[in-house]
Amino acid sequence: MSVTEPQTPPLPTPLADSAPDKGGPAQPLLIVRDLQKYFPVRGGILGGKKAVVQAVDGVSFEVRKGETLGIVGESGCGKSTTARLLIGLLEKDSGEIIYDGQDLGGALSLRDLRRGVQMVFQDSYASLNPRLTIEDSIAFGARIQGLSDPVGRARKLMDRVGLAPDRFAQRYPHEVSGGQRQRINIARALAMSPRLVVLDEAVSALDKSVEAQVLNLLADLRREFGLTYIFISHDLNVVRYISDRILVMYLGEVVEIAPVDDIWSSQAHPYTKSLFSAMPSMDPDNRTKEPPLAGDPPNPINPPPGCRFHTRCRFVDSVCKTKVPALRPLTAGGQHMAACHLHDLGSGHKLAGKDVLS
C-alpha cells in the first residue's frame, strides 16, 4: 500500500431532513437566467457619472440534480458575485433564480432557499467566527433553522469530515490548521442539510497535499449525501478533477459552458483556449514557449463593447467590437455552448466556421 487517505469512519446516518425534492429528477436543481449585478462605485460628485462595476452581466446556466458544475475564470470576472447572488447574500439587480422549479422571490422565500443552498468560502479563517468554538459554529445554522439536536448534529458532522469531536469540538478556529478549518466550514455548510453547496475557491488557499485531502472528502460527501456542487476555482486541474461540467466566465459573462471532457479536448472560445494553454506544463522536456495571452484582464468598470474579450483576442474582427456574441450550442441540441462569433456562421466574422482554434 502506498500513501493513502486515512480510513473513512463508518457512515453516519445520512442527513435525513433535507428539504424534499419537488420537481423530480428531470427538473434542474437550479436555473439561473440573465442574472445581473452592477456595483456602483463612487465617481466624481461633481457632474461625473457614477461608475458601475458590471460584476455579473446576463449570466444564465443550469445545475442538474447531483452534478457538479465547475466555474472558472480570472480574478474579478464575477465568480464570487455569482455565488453570493445564488444564496441571496447579494440582491440581484435583475434575472431569475429558480431553485427546484420555484422562483426566488416568487414561490420561494430567501429563507427556504437557504435551507437548500449553502456555501463554503475561500478564506477558511475569515469564514469562522473566532469567538465561537468549532462545535458552536457548526451548530449555529442548524439551531437557526430550528433543526433538531443541533449539537449532536454538529458532532456527527465533525466526525464525518474527519475531526474527532471529542478533541476538536471545544477548540477555537485559531487553534486548528488551515485544512482542518476548511473541513469545519464544510461541516458547517452541511449541518443545514442543503442539497446544493456552493464552494467558492474552497481549496485554493490550501497546500497541495492538504488540498488533495479536502477534495477527497468533498467527493465522498457528495456521493454519500447526494449533494449537488457549484465549484468555483481558478485552478483548472482542480475543476476538472471534481466537475461534471465547466462554465467559463470572462468579465461578468459566461463565454463557454460544456461537459468537462468536451472542453478538455477542445475549447470553443478563444479565451478558454488561452486559459487552458496558460496552465504550466508538467513536462520538463516540453515547457511552454509562448504566453497564450498578453496583458492583464481588463477592469470590469468599463468593459469593452461588443465581445468583451476582443481586446485580447487573437482572432478579433470588426464584428467583435460591436456585436455581443450570444451563448449558443456548438452543435444543435449539444451540451457544449460558447459565446463567440467564430462559431456563428451568420455573425459576419471573417474566420467564422473556419475552425481556426484547433
Partner: protein
C-alpha cells in the same frame, strides 16, 4: 496503517477561551497589574469611604484651616475650610471617578450600539448616523464639553450629560469602523446564509468580535474623560461646591498655593496619578486583548 493521528496538530491547550487568554496575558504584565491595583484601590476606597474611619469631608473648622501635610489627626493636612484633606481626597475620588468614568460607560453603550447598527446596516442608516456623528466631530472635544456644560450650567448631572455627548461620537465612529470590518468577513455571510435574522447575527457573531476593540478604545478614553471632567469642575462649570471633587478642590485650593504649595498640589497629583494609571491600564488591556499580536 500508521498509528499517528493524521489530523493532529500541536495546539496550545485545546478549548481555551478568549477571555482566559486575555486574563493570562494580563497577569504576566506587572505594570498593568500595579495600575489595576491602584485604580481598584481608589475605587474601593471611594466606595467604602464612609467605613474607613475618615473625618467628615464636609465639616471643617476655620481655626484648623490649611494645616500642612503631616499634621496629627490630619495626615494630609486640611483644606481652605479646615476640612480633612485625606477624607476629601478619598471622597473626592468618588465623585471624580464617577464623573470621569460614567460618561465613557454611557457613551460606550450608546455609541457602541449606534456604531454597530450603522456598521452592520450600511446604506442610508449608516449615512444618517455617521453624518450626524461627523457634525459632532467638527467640534474639538474639549470645546464641545465646555460649550455644553457652559450652556447647561454647573452640576453633576449636567457634567455627565455633556461629557457623555462628547464621547458618543468617537465611540460610534470606532464601533462603526470595527463593525463594518467584521461585517465584511465571510463568517458573517455564512451566518446570514444560514438564514439567521440580522439581530441574531449581530448578537451571536458581531457583538462578540467588535466588543473588545470598542472596549479597548473606550478604556483609552477614560483618562481623557477624567481629566476633562476635573477640568470642567476646575473651570467652575462641573461639580458644585462644597462637594469634594479633585478638579474643584484644585480650583478652591489655588490660592492656598501661596500658603502651602504641597497641599494645593495634592488634588492635581491625584488626577495625574489616576489618569496615568488609567492610561497604562488601557495600554495593558489593549495589548492583552490583541489576539493576533
Amino acid at each position: 496503517m500508521t498509528a499517528i493521528d493524521p489530523l493532529d496538530m500541536p495546539v496550545t491547550e485545546a478549548g481555551k477561551g478568549y477571555w482566559s487568554g486575555v486574563g493570562a496575558r494580563l497577569i504576566r504584565d506587572p505594570l498593568t497589574l500595579i495600575c489595576m491595583s491602584v485604580i481598584a484601590l481608589l475605587i474601593l476606597s471611594a466606595i467604602f469611604a464612609p467605613w474607613l474611619g475618615l473625618g467628615d469631608p464636609y465639616k471643617g473648622s476655620m481655626i484648623a484651616r490649611l494645616k500642612p501635610i503631616g499634621t496629627p489627626g490630619h495626615i494630609l493636612g486640611t483644606d481652605e475650610q479646615g476640612r480633612d484633606m485625606l477624607a476629601r481626597l478619598i471622597y473626592g475620588g468618588r465623585l471624580t471617578l464617577f464623573i470621569g468614568l460614567t460618561p465613557v460607560v454611557l457613551a460606550f453603550f450608546i455609541g457602541g450600539t449606534l456604531g454597530i447598527v450603522a456598521g452592520y446596516a450600511g446604506g442610508w442608516v449608516n449615512t444618517l448616523i455617521m453624518r450626524t456623528v461627523d457634525v459632532f466631530f467638527a467640534f474639538p472635544s474639549v470645546l464641545l464639553a465646555i460649550a455644553i456644560s457652559g450652556a447647561l450650567g454647573a452640576g453633576i448631572v449636567n457634567s455627565l450629560v455633556s461629557l457623555t455627548i462628547v464621547f458618543i461620537p468617537p465611540l460610534t465612529r470606532v464601533a462603526e469602523a470595527v463593525t463594518s470590518g467584521v461585517r465584511a468577513l465571510d463568517y458573517i455571510d455564512a451566518a446570514r446564509a444560514s438564514g439567521a435574522s440580522a439581530l441574531t447575527v449581530i448578537r451571536v457573531h458581531v457583538i462578540g468580535n467588535v466588543l473588545s476593540p470598542i472596549f479597548v478604545y473606550a478604556t483609552s478614553l477614560t483618562s481623557v474623560c477624567m481629566i476633562l471632567a476635573a477640568g470642567l469642575s476646575f473651570l467652575g462649570i462641573g461639580v458644585r461646591p462644597p462637594e469634594p471633587e479633585w478638579g474643584l478642590m484644585l480650583n478652591t485650593l489655588r490660592s492656598a498655593i501661596y500658603v502651602n504649595p504641597w497641599l494645593s498640589a495634592l488634588p492635581g497629583l491625584m488626577i495625574f496619578i489616576t489618569s496615568l494609571c488609567l492610561n497604562l491600564l488601557s495600554d495593558g488591556v489593549r495589548s492583552a486583548m490583541n489576539v493576533r499580536d
